[in-house]
């Protein structure tokens, strides 16, 4: 190699020649994604049910007469009646709100706590990691039931319907899994070349954390959160079963399911309908989460 011509032909990074922003790209991707549209429409419908239930039914979910007990579908009540003689359809529609509120808010809270704990533990490592990981361990050691009984019991005022108490309880008790997943992703991402490059270019820790590490650690985290959303909506039922759930005349899918479960052998319809709504909701959110994650993840393109 006498003439030592080692300089190479200029590399052109963008094969496709497009130059849109990441968000623009993601949107272009999503727009063509059928799953995204299906789940987005479902989510919108669910949110409408949650906040404007009167759009869907004119019946009063609290009007129940024992004489209608376990009757099948009839004129007004297309899903039939439950054990107390309440209109299952009306209760399912009106139950959306509490379920959705509890599910979304508690997942957001768990996600936020998990993000803060996981990101700091993973990013700073060392003593911070040791301390935060130990706190996570301690939280994991507290039995769910004990935590639920104590937190819900202490948090709920006697007058409200308990949505906030249930939300806080679930948030406090479920963030640990999100934190652990976040931590291990951050540790994995931290050692990647582009982070080292960013550091060498003098990026501030904040910039490194939020521009480089965080976006690349989100994949598993989002998966865990979407699942958490589903389990938290369902967990509301478990709390009700333990007597520390929603109170008073609150209506929710969890309460409906827990109640109808006792009579599954006699009348299945009061159990099936709220379960179907619950499953559809969880499915819609998980599909939406998957679609958005796929759209934003450059590795998947």
């Amino acid at each position: 190699m006498s003439d030592a011509n080692l300089i190479t032909v200029a590399e052109a990074p963008d094969v496709s020649g497009r130059s849109r922003s990441l968000a623009g790209d993601a949107w272009a991707d999503l727009r063509r994604n059928k799953i995204f549209w299906i789940s987005a429409v479902l989510v919108v419908v669910i949110l409408l049910m949650a906040f404007v239930p009167s759009l869907f039914t004119s019946a009063d979910p609290g009007a129940c007469a024992l004489s209608n007990k376990h009757k099948g579908p009839s004129g007004g009540a297309i899903f039939g009646y439950d054990f107390q003689g309440c209109d299952v359809f009306a209760r399912t529609i009106y139950g959306t709100r509490a379920s959705i509120e509890v599910g979304i808010l508690s997942t957001l809270m768990a996600g936020l706590l998990g993000l803060i704990f996981g990101l700091s533990a993973g990013y700073f490592g060392g003593t911070t990691d040791a301390v935060l990981s130990r706190v996570t361990d301690i939280m994991l050691g507290v039995p769910f039931l004990l935590g639920a009984v104590v937190f819900s019991g202490r948090l709920s005022g006697s007058e409200d319907d308990g949505v906030w108490a249930v939300t806080l309880t679930l948030g406090v008790l479920t963030w640990t899994s999100a934190a652990r997943v976040m931590r291990s992703s951050v540790i994995a991402v931290k050692s990647q070349d582009y982070v080292a490059a960013g550091r060498m270019l003098g990026a501030s820790p904040g910039r490194l954390m939020f521009r480089h590490i965080l976006p690349n650690s989100m994949a598993s985290f989002i998966v865990v959160l979407t699942i958490l959303l589903g389990t938290n909506i369902a967990a509301e039922a478990t709390l009700s079963y333990l007597g520390v759930g929603l109170k008073g005349d609150a209506v929710s899918w969890g309460l409906q399911i827990a109640e109808a479960q006792d009579y599954a052998r006699i009348a299945a319809h009061p159990l099936i309908w709220p379960s179907v709504f619950l499953a559809a909701t969880v499915l819609a959110f998980i599909m939406l989460g998957d679609a958005i994650r796929d759209a934003f993840d450059p590795k998947l393109r």
């Binding site: 190699m1 030592a4 011509n5 032909v9 200029a10 052109a12 094969v15 496709s16 020649g17 497009r18």
Partner: protein
Amino acid sequence: MTDIKATMDALPGLDHRAPLLQIDDLHVEFRTRDGVAKAVNGASFWLSPGETLAILGESGCGKSVTAQAIMGILESPPGHITAGEIRYRGVDLLKLPEVQRRKVRANRIAMIFQDALSALNPVYTVGFQLAELFRVHRGMSRSDARNRAVDLLDQVKIPGARSRVNDYPHQFSGGMRQRVMIAMALALDPEVLIADEPTTALDVTVQAQIMGLLAELQRQRNMGLILITHDMGVVADVADRISVMYAGRVVEEAPVHDIYARPGHPYTRALLESIPRLDLKGRQLNVIRGLPPALTDIPRGCAFNPRCRYAKDPCRQDPAPPAYAIAPHRTARCHFFREVLGE
């Protein structure tokens, strides 16, 4: 080993007199949500035993895709081979059932990848990954396979091979890792070795060592070597012939000295002119104008026409220029090759 080669000869249609490797009019496209990307559009070349063919071109010109198509490891979907033939000793590999195709890999045609760190499995020792070849393809016992792995590491000149065989990829330096890759590729004595930018990730002195090693091993084994690179410096030193690819086509094919002396295609010419040269020190470097085309939207006619200073109307019309035989063993796909050669 010979007996195993003998069973391998059961490959139907195998003809020892046929060319070692011949690619004919290969077309590959990627069907993605963003449209169909035509990565390879009629690539043709051949390779003889003991010969080094360099495939040269910018990123995205279809070099690596061609290599993967030859290996049969194209990700599919989205990749699809839509037309063409890949003949190994007369056998069209594309028509082979997958089970036999698999036996060709590593046994007859092997490949070295660019980034050895990511190309090696991080959770297994290099010994395991080498021995795996012997265990799967040769059915050797665990200890025999391991001994062969140590031999191989010796052959690629890794110091202390016997102890390093139990190390994990991340415990090797970049150059040593690439030697492991070479050892892996050579393990089953293939007749064709495809090296996809084997030295790009390495620093200059190590590059030279690796290229030297490759050349040496090639000589010993009389292998055909396809060297994929965008580095004209490397090419000049080791290649016998060069195929220049642009937008999925071989635009010029020629023995290495001819091409350096008198390029026959404007693109080749532009590539050569963009190399800084000592004797031209102080003058402005000629950089190729524009960017390679999007593979979803290749220009009509000659794909290079928007960037070409020779381009005239015929270049912008379909069909694309044919491969003009401009000299013995030499072709160029340019209507105006005479002007190019003449300069």
